[in-house]
């Protein structure tokens, strides 16, 4: 099986979906001639031409709005927002329009739309190029929120997203674009939107994570293994709607839960998982549900030491898991 990077898997998924369905097209800033800021569409302009890779003006709200309109028409748009930080001007179209279309029309109007956005810190991007935005969208019924963490899942989930008849927020951990490598089979496959994945079975403690933090969680688990702590790692993959069953089954087995994300703590996505566990697996717990998240500060600062203090890393995860295992 060929090994490839996360970004290459994303590029390949888009390539294959463009080839498969003539209604699929891509728009966004610099997705065409330039091949995308992170090169997620590199080479596709030459292959599919300007009608299918449409360079858009700098106008996020309209990029999304036009995508919704085209989706209503029956097209299958893939939209690229250059950085998740720039999705905020488009919140109105996403939350008020895309998410509500199906509901307001009693299922008649559908919005098969994928909005891709690189998110997260750790690349020195500073205040406005490092944000995590998943909690905003995982609060909005009518949207699906997907965050892949491996090249295999990135490709399979993105292909599933393009074929899904609903609006999907597809967030990509940009720090992992070239850092994360993995095997991707040749030929057609999809990874269904919805199910979480146990990426490392264990008995002592359940570690829930996604995106870059999932990799750090695996590294932490490996470290703890040598200390005799057997950690189960769950890659959530789809944040909304969430796979309660996998989460609850894992906690029932290990009796301890730690949720990790780099977005800040308060009102973060981890709170929802903690609430689900407290609600439905209370009697199975041997310890309080714990969250490890980015600190409650408004943005990721630029300076390297400050960024490092902000970011969750394998050492911080291992420390939190160790403490919980000993509780």
């Amino acid at each position: 099986m060929p090994e490839m990077t996360l970004i290459e898997a994303i590029r390949q998924a888009q390539d294959e979906e463009l080839a498969r369905d003539p209604n699929v097209f891509i728009t966004g800033e610099d997705v065409g001639v330039r091949g995308g800021v992170f090169r997620a569409t590199m080479g596709l302009y030459d292959k599919y031409g300007p009608n299918r890779l449409i360079d858009s003006p700098l106008a996020e709200d309209s990029i999304v709005g036009v995508g919704i309109g085209a989706a209503l028409y029956g097209m299958r748009p893939i939209l690229e927002i250059q950085f998740a930080d720039f999705i905020h001007p488009a919140l109105n179209q996403i939350i008020s329009e895309a998410a509500k279309m199906c509901y307001r029309s009693n299922g008649e109007w559908t919005v098969p739309l994928v909005i891709r956005a690189p998110y997260g810190g750790g690349i020195g991007g500073g205040l406005y190029h490092s944000q995590s935005v998943e909690a905003l969208f995982a609060h909005v019924p009518g949207l699906k929120v997907v965050i892949p963490s491996t090249p295999y899942d990135a490709k399979g989930l993105l292909k599933a997203a393009v074929r899904d008849p609903n609006p999907i927020i597809f967030l990509e951990p940009k720090k992992g674009y070239r850092l994360i490598k993995g095997e991707v089979p040749e030929g057609e496959y999809v990874v269904p939107i919805g199910p979480a994945r146990i990426s490392r079975p264990g008995r002592d403690l359940s570690l829930f994570a996604y995106g870059m933090m999932h990799h750090y969680a695996l590294q932490a688990a490996q470290k703890l293994e040598s200390e005799g702590i057997d950690v189960e790692v769950v890659d959530l993959r789809t944040l909304y709607p969430v796979d309660k069953e996998t989460i609850l089954n894992s906690v029932r087995k290990t009796s301890r839960a730690l949720i990790v994300h780099e977005d800040n703590l308060t009102g973060g996505y981890g709170a929802e998982i903690a609430a689900i566990i407290a609600d439905e697996a209370f009697t199975d717990l041997d310890a309080p549900v714990r969250r490890l998240a980015g600190p409650d500060v408004p943005a990721v600062p630029f300076s390297h030491p400050m960024q490092d203090w902000f970011m969750v890393n394998p050492e911080k995860i291992a420390a939190a898991a160790r403490k919980l295992a000993q509780w």
């Binding site: 610099d30 001639v33 330039r34 700098l58 309209s62 930080d85 600062p301």
Partner: protein, 319 residues
């Protein structure tokens, strides 16, 4: 323009260029991280424009802000320190290259969300109108920024409210990798002001004198109650959008063509031809800049990094 002003403005332009060349070097050495957007080629725009402002005039711009910061009087050493993420930087290392600011110099910052600072500029200008002050807010942005709704909303509102704001579009021919006419329905950005009934003009941004004279005239008109105006300044960035840009969207010949009209060269010739300076004086300015940069790099590199507590500082002010 008198001799002293001529030499000062020449100094500023050279200082911008050398600061950025040094920054590019430090970036390539891995000492500066993240994103770095150079202004090289566009120096005459901010130097000419800001030389025309009065102290009460506020300046606000986008992320390509090193030149503007220098023209507003921020020391090169504090700018380089900021790029290196040092606590002695203009934003204590928290902001980095794109978010330089110093309100004591009436420089209201670089802003990284394209277009988002235009309504902010309108608000600053509203303050002057409301308080009956005679300041003008100078808001700079790129050609790409004129395609987002913020631009249109802010222009319209500023005209309806008759705000003392000068909208300055630096048309450097590209928004990232997209040429102006591939993203904008009109290729002269000034035409967009027409839709809001706003006085507008266009000037050659490779020529400092032309920019300065246009800005002086317009700023005084706005100060005297003309209402908002838009000034389009045509220019060109010699470097990529940011460091590491493969620049597949333009040809080297195009860059060379613009490099032949180098704004620093043009201004140098202007000073010489008009008897405002002799070669030796200009060379002395070049040397002074070299020395300033040398000291700035030592200052920036030897400055300490921020402490951990800085992360949690300034989230709120005391109520």
């Amino acid at each position: 323009m008198d001799k002293q002003t001529g030499l000062k403005l020449y100094h500023e332009m050279v200082l911008i260029r050398r600061t950025e060349e040094k920054a590019a070097e430090l970036y390539q050495q891995g000492k500066i991280g993240g994103f770095l957007h150079l202004y090289i080629g566009q120096e005459a725009v901010s130097t000419g424009l800001i030389s025309a402002r009065l102290p009460q005039d506020r300046v606000i711009t986008a992320y390509r802000d090193h030149g503007v910061a220098i023209n507003c009087g921020l020391p090169a050493k504090e700018i380089l320190a900021e790029m290196l993420g040092k606590v002695t930087g203009v934003s204590r290392g928290k902001g980095g290259s794109m978010h330089l600011a110093d309100v004591s110099k009436n420089f209201w910052g670089g802003h990284a969300i394209v277009g988002a600072h235009l309504p902010l500029a309108a608000g600053l200008a509203l303050g002057d109108l409301y308080q009956k002050q005679d300041g003008v807010t100078i808001c700079m942005f790129g050609d790409g920024a004129t395609n987002i709704g913020y631009f249109h909303e802010a222009l319209n509102l500023s005209k309806v409210w008759n705000l003392p704001v000068l909208w300055v579009c630096e048309n450097n021919q590209y928004g990232m990798g997209t040429a102006v006419d591939r993203a904008s329905a009109v290729s002269q950005i000034r035409q967009k002001a027409e839709g809001y009934g706003m006085t507008n003009s266009r000037v050659d941004g490779m020529n400092l004198v032309a920019v300065r004279e246009a800005a002086q005239k317009i700023l005084s008109e706005i100060r005297n109650g003309s209402g908002p105006q838009l000034l389009e300044i045509t220019t060109y960035r010699y470097r990529g959008h940011s460091m590491g840009d493969p620049e597949r969207y333009r040809k080297p010949e195009e860059i060379h063509l613009w490099q032949e009209q180098d704004p620093i060269g043009i201004f140098r010739r202007h000073l010489l031809d008009n008897g405002l300076a002799v070669e030796a004086e200009l060379n002395a300015e070049d040397d002074a800049v070299e020395e300033e940069i040398r000291e700035a790099v030592i200052f920036a590199e030897s400055s300490p990094e921020p402490q951990a507590e800085e992360l949690f500082r300034d989230i709120y002010v005391e109520a």
